[in-house]
Amino acid sequence: MTPLTRRQMAWRAAQDMCDCAYVNLGIGLPTLVSDFIPEGREVVFHSENGILGMGRAPAPHEVDRDLINAGKGLTTLLPGGSFFHHNDAFLMIRGGHLDVALLGAFEVAENGDLANWTTEDPAFPPGVGSAMDLAVGAKEVRAILEHTTKDGRPRIRRKCSYPLTAAACVKRIYTNLAVIDVTPDGLVVREVVEGLDFAGLQDRTEAQLTLANDWRPLAAA
């Protein structure tokens, strides 16, 4: 069994971005997704700091220090892009104007509860950023995360052990082992990485999984 790399996970999540979608990518792993949008698909990336139509990282001659993304990395603007102030950026988020928010996560629960803002480690002061706004505001929230922690603890759980970002908001989960939908009937596995059977996936997951009839191997470029 070969789990997907982070870039392969980003590639997989990118394949589900529909043409013409307005999309917010959370900081960290989700940011990589913009590199893998299939050729010919027009997806408009939104950034919480007041950008629509965000492009790729700049080439050296394109660098502008006033143009950064949500993770404070340098970025570019595509033709047709626009700048606006914070209230408009969050009006777009909260008011349901974004089609998809793809967020990193510490944990996701079987009902779609999301925990991604604090581990309550006293050594690290918490930061919430735009996580709560995106989790309740986007038309569809998807989460992307490693299937287990480094020491093998499941991150897809019956109930989140960390404080919630928002309740029952996640609709689809991308991990390095599987693609899983959150449905009214629980978690349904759509794709599993090659070399891992369903029982093996369930062993690495605390929440109860169901295998979709039309499940397929999780392929990644």
């Binding site: 220090r65 102030h85 209230n87 002061p125 709560m132 928002a166 309740a167």
Partner: protein, 284 residues
């Protein structure tokens, strides 16, 4: 006798009145205050006698000019304990030179409202490191290089109020717009909504968030004219427009001043009504 300028109503730096009343000032007799003793020969600490008078000549200049000569004048009158709104997202759009000058000005016990809690060792980070900040209201304290905040937080020298980012900007908008607060679905059912009033609207639970007003806003823009109209560059706009609207005194550092009319009126990002003082800081 000493001229006591009422806070905000007349800006001592630009001498522009904010309340639209021409020529009324207040005087206080400091000499009388200092000699008055009570029966135990202790200085009388009753409030000073304040009387109003009306100037014969104009106090406000005939011309609106919000540009102040230097960064020190731009920060005149900022008091200990002020709530200071600081523009910027990370270091982009952050008024670092104004904040450096605030450190020099000496105000302490400050409440800072800023998306992040300072980067590296300059600007807001220096203010935090020098124990000038009692409390920070922000969405994401640990951004690029948060060493100053981390240290102050671990040592218990700073209080943190964590607010979801959109809620933070909307709370300032509410203050700016004269609203008593607003209901939002953001943070419902989480620790950040603990103790807050909730309400069912159309079958959904919302949490009540209160307005967030600043005594002062320190901001950064690209261009200004003498009326205080502003434009920003790219993603450096971020929180600056809402903070300009939400503070009693808005101070802006700009890259350059332009003539009235040079900013296309269709493209003014912050109208001058929200701006009190403008200072040119060329090192942007």
């Amino acid at each position: 006798m000493r001229l006591v300028v009422e806070r905000v109503k007349t800006d001592p730096a630009t001498r522009i009145r904010r309340d639209g009343l021409a020529g009324q000032c207040r005087f206080r007799d400091d000499a009388a205050l200092s000699t008055k003793r009570n029966e135990n020969n202790v200085r009388d600490i009753r409030p000073p006698v304040v009387r109003s008078c009306r100037f014969r000549r104009r106090v406000a200049p005939a011309m609106i000019d919000k540009q102040v000569p230097g960064i020190r004048a731009a920060l005149a009158g900022i008091r200990n304990g002020s709530t200071v709104l600081c523009g910027g997202f990370g270091s982009v759009g952050a008024p670092d030179e104004l904040i450096d000058a605030l450190l020099e000005q000496g105000a302490r016990d400050l409440v800072i409202v800023s998306n992040n809690a300072g980067v590296g060792t300059t600007g807001l980070a220096a203010l935090v490191d020098n124990n000038r900040v009692r409390k920070i209201i922000c969405s994401y304290p640990r951004s690029d290089d948060p060493r100053a905040f981390d240290k102050a937080y671990k040592e218990g020298r700073i209080e943190l109020e964590l607010v979801p980012q959109g809620t933070m900007s909307e709370r300032m908008r509410a203050a700016a717009a004269g609203l008593g607060g607003f209901y939002t679905r953001v943070s419902v059912g989480t620790k950040l909504a603990a103790g807050k009033e909730t309400r069912e609207i159309d079958g959904q639970t919302y949490v009540l968030e209160m307005p967030l007003k600043g005594d002062v806003a320190l901001l950064k823009a690209d261009r200004a004219d003498r009326w205080g109209n502003l434009t920003y560059r790219k993603s450096a706009r971020n929180f600056n427009p809402v903070m300009a609207m939400a503070a009693d005194l808005s101070v802006v550092q700009v890259r350059t001043m332009v003539e009235l009319g040079e900013i296309d009126p269709e493209c003014v990002h912050t109208p001058g009504i929200f701006v009190d003082r403008v200072v040119v800081v060329e090192r942007h």
